[in-house]
Symmetry: D2
Subunit: 331 residues, 4 copies
């Protein structure tokens, strides 16, 4: 299903070159202030358009409310937001269709949907739809109230100096990956369920909805696998749950423990690289060299922070509503 | 919720020191051969009891069918399996209750459930319940038919020589973590959905249901963050979807691509270490030194492979039923 | 939640006087022919505008595809359809707001959503949204293939001669209710689940989504309560499941039995009656007489048949996909 | 799926002649007093064993807690209750297998599950499983707190004098149906959702889980179809939502309105009648006369009240948790 959440349920729809992409949020509490301007900051952050290494496709990305907002506040009814697609050049993609682009969903989409998929610009699989995630995140952050969600880039192309990492890509005329960290502060103790709906399960489920995420770790993460128990265990200091260290990343037994929720995701290099590649030519049946036309992000990780914040916020908003921490009506 | 899956839905229940733990599988296809002996291998693998570094609590762990099996075959009705708890010593835990054990759910469970939780031996949060996961996995593997799911330990305590890693723990009188890899072969192309129900989302959701998992990565995983695009992209070779390399770990655009599904999880060191630790004493309100009595696994990663296979099999069985690849009745 | 179905999941959104109402269908199989014209017949049937006793609000009701359709066929991605609201006169409703209209959701909506609801014309509770149900039904009927869904009015105002029933309302200057029957032919045996997802449970769940439905019965229905067992039991005649009579209405043990699925719903009289009524005046706190301005349906039952067909088709499409009777890709 | 509810989720399992039947409740709040004795009254009411016209199969029906209860209170973890099957005579049913019993699921179960179903005594389709519903209802009623749920028989075999109705069955040596009404008092305003999760949708979904229910109506129900609008509309009297009449049965726009929730169900006559019947003989392929051996209820409606209360309580408990009216932890 293209939806996420049990009480704060986000559904996304749209294709890269269709008339619009958008979201429905079912279960959004009533009485939250919501204006188009509230979306500006995160949507601009996602564009990353003024940075080196990001694609020049520029959409206005103005949120158009179709339902669920009245007199500047959410009504409690399903909230629908559209983003029109204006800046599309479908011709580019029709020509490229003979080669399933490596790293993209072209091949699997064709197999899964029997060739009926809208293949233009990646169709429903396009990174374009991350604007929908960001929009859902804007609303989710409002539901979270004082809880703060903040993501930042830790490294690009293996370099913690981000300029340096990007320059590597420019020099190599290739794309690069990166690592993004997200920190959520102010969560109550007790979110999540043991086993199947652990906080890690829910966050990871949401994070892997972001195209290009190939790994996730909480707290010490993969490093924990190399640690001794006494070093990894976080000593409990007080009844508010504060711990000396935070190797657990704020989650113990699948439940939030009152400390900062900390997790990192691995972002693969942009699949659309300027370099010549090889792939099967569907028409000839041969593996051939080809190049992807058009301009693409050298490093998609640069755009990930607001998207990662968004899915984290959605996941946390849902857990908070499930736990009854947030009311159905804001007053 | 303590359940997983949409068509092949597994629910687990029970506490470490209650009368029994168990599972219900709702949506298991009819006509699958199922006998108590089918559970033996994976349940024994989970015990790890003959290995250095695993706990001596030995349960017979005989699966007791309560419903859903008739004349040696699944009926299509909900399948219920119990495992009785015989080998429990609750007294051990009553004494230890004054200290919330670091790394365990003692503190968060008490906060979440208002002190009403069954705290004996970790209660519902106990690793004991992984026998339920293993049992669900036994059934799920049968649903998967020719699809093969195999997990193995890659490293212990940072060492690829597992004996050496374990010896480190024994020498340090402390516990250690490890890394476990799972490979699923024979999956059809097209499982998973774009965005919220990507194969990675679903597998990660399931994997983080295993206590002690703190990270997951697919294919090249975190290494992908340091790679160039052309090196990371897997060249498509034929219409069956085979690729030259498998940096994607068998998933592109969230969809299975016909190659091996490969993922790894980071297992934290066992929280119950023999070493002296510090924690808040709930009675005195002071942070004090204490030791965990009883014998525990030095390295819980040793027991993880059959559990990881189980959750992967559950996730894949569900996706295959969702895609209509497996019939509701086996004939 | 404002969604229905597990594999063929329909979500509806919009308010009577917002910019648009619409649906998302998640899980619609790929490869189904779908054009705006396909919606015309059922949408016109719903309008009932040329009949005596139906409201003159006339919307063009042209379906606008936002996603999920490409080159005239469904793609397998979420299918979004909008219907713009053009013919609205909000002023009418602002004035009436002091009286919660009896039979309408005005009072409960205000309580449930804290006064933040869009109250214009009933907002999200408006019968206007049944155009969304009808649209979902158009798609669902296509998924059903050769299965036929047909609803018809059995009686109006207690009269089987519908003209006579309607004349009663006109004479009394009041609204009247009615009974609508739906027959589904060509269903396979085996849909539905014992207990919680019985065919009756699923159909009833869907049918009560239609505003004004206050009862539902299958086969002999309430009459069955007065029958003897031997008269009620339907004698099985052959291995295709055909029975001599159909008192069960095509469902036994919650499962479709190969006969026609037959059910009836009771439709209450239109709540907005031309007659003077009493209600609490929110401003004065007194129960006062008032009249509902504007023109409304004298008998909403006249518009129900295509809506009832729609929800039945949605329910059956979902059950057929769950049972694997319909493929995910049409070829 | 054999489960119901979104936050208070009940799953049932078991077969008439298997070792046990039972329930899991996932999402039951912590801190509720729960003892085996709490189940006695409703379980005894369900037996109806001392009345004329009820079956003599007598089970002890002692609830056996497997999980989720500790020190006499619910823990917040999944609550599992077993009822052992002791009083079974499978031999009776093996003999009868050649004839699919009219009104029973024998035929459809065989088709749906490919012949793998446990057919003894109706297997998973047996009325035996209503003890599970009753047990879930006992817990649900505790979650409801001061909300009162009470069901009673309105008529038997078309007679409001129940003795007379039953005598009709005895005289005719046949079974009879009946009508049962349920009234829920003390519900808050605002439960339910517009459209797909209306209170009527959710209650009807639950009620049709009871074998033998063939119709349901709310408030005036089918009679509403014959009424004028002004007579049917309930005049609002005060800001607590009280209305003069209750033709709506406590639900307007799908939402609870603060009045008594009133609904009635039609119960078909017991399918296992003492009278000779006809059905297809699976072995000969001919329609033949046969009689059902053993003793059965003359009127299953006699046992329905506690079962109907149970499913109503489950549905309402879920809606109250969804609305946040009940806390996750009772204190």
């Amino acid at each position: 299903m293209n939806s996420f959440g049990r009480l704060f349920r986000v559904s996304i729809f749209g294709e890269s070159h269709g008339p619009a992409v958008g979201i429905i949020i079912d279960g959004c509490p009533a009485g939250i202030d919501l204006a188009p301007e509230d979306f500006t900051t995160d949507i601009e952050r996602r564009k990353g358009g003024t940075q080196k290494g990001t694609t020049p496709r520029q959409e206005a990305d103005l949120p158009i409310f179709q339902s669920g907002v009245f007199k500047g506040k959410t009504t409690g009814a399903p909230l629908t937001v559209l983003f029109e697609n204006n800046n599309t050049r479908s011709g580019d993609y029709e020509k490229q269709r003979s080669f399933p682009r490596p790293g993209h969903a072209d091949f699997v989409a064709s197999k899964k949907f029997g060739g009926y998929e809208d293949f233009r610009g990646g169709g429903h699989f396009s990174g374009r739809l991350t604007v929908c995630l960001v929009a859902a995140g804007v609303v989710a952050k409002k539901v979270l109230g004082a809880v703060d969600v903040k993501a930042s880039i830790l490294e690009i192309g293996g370099e913690q100096d981000l300029e340096k990492g990007l320059q590597k890509a420019i020099d190599a005329k290739d794309s690069v990956g990166g690592i993004v960290e997200c920190v959520v502060s102010g969560l109550p103790i007790g979110l999540g369920e043991p086993f199947f709906d652990s906080v890690e399960s829910v966050i990871a489920h949401a994070a892997f909805a972001i195209p290009a995420v190939k790994g996730i770790e909480f707290g010490a993460g993969f490093l924990a696998a190399k640690m001794f128990g006494v070093s990894h265990n976080d000593t409990l200091l007080d009844m508010e749950g504060h711990t000396e260290s935070n190797n657990a990343g704020g989650v113990v037994g699948g439940i939030s423990n009152g400390n900062k929720l900390v997790f990192r995701v691995a972002i693969k290099p942009t699949s659309s690289t300027p370099k010549e590649q090889e792939s099967l030519n569907w028409e000839t049946g041969e593996v051939e060299k080809f190049s992807i036309k058009g301009r693409h992000d050298l490093c998609i990780a640069l755009r990930v922070p607001p998207v990662l914040e968004a899915v984290a916020a959605m996941a946390m908003a849902d857990l908070m509503l499930l736990e009854g921490v947030r009311p159905r009506v804001v007053q």
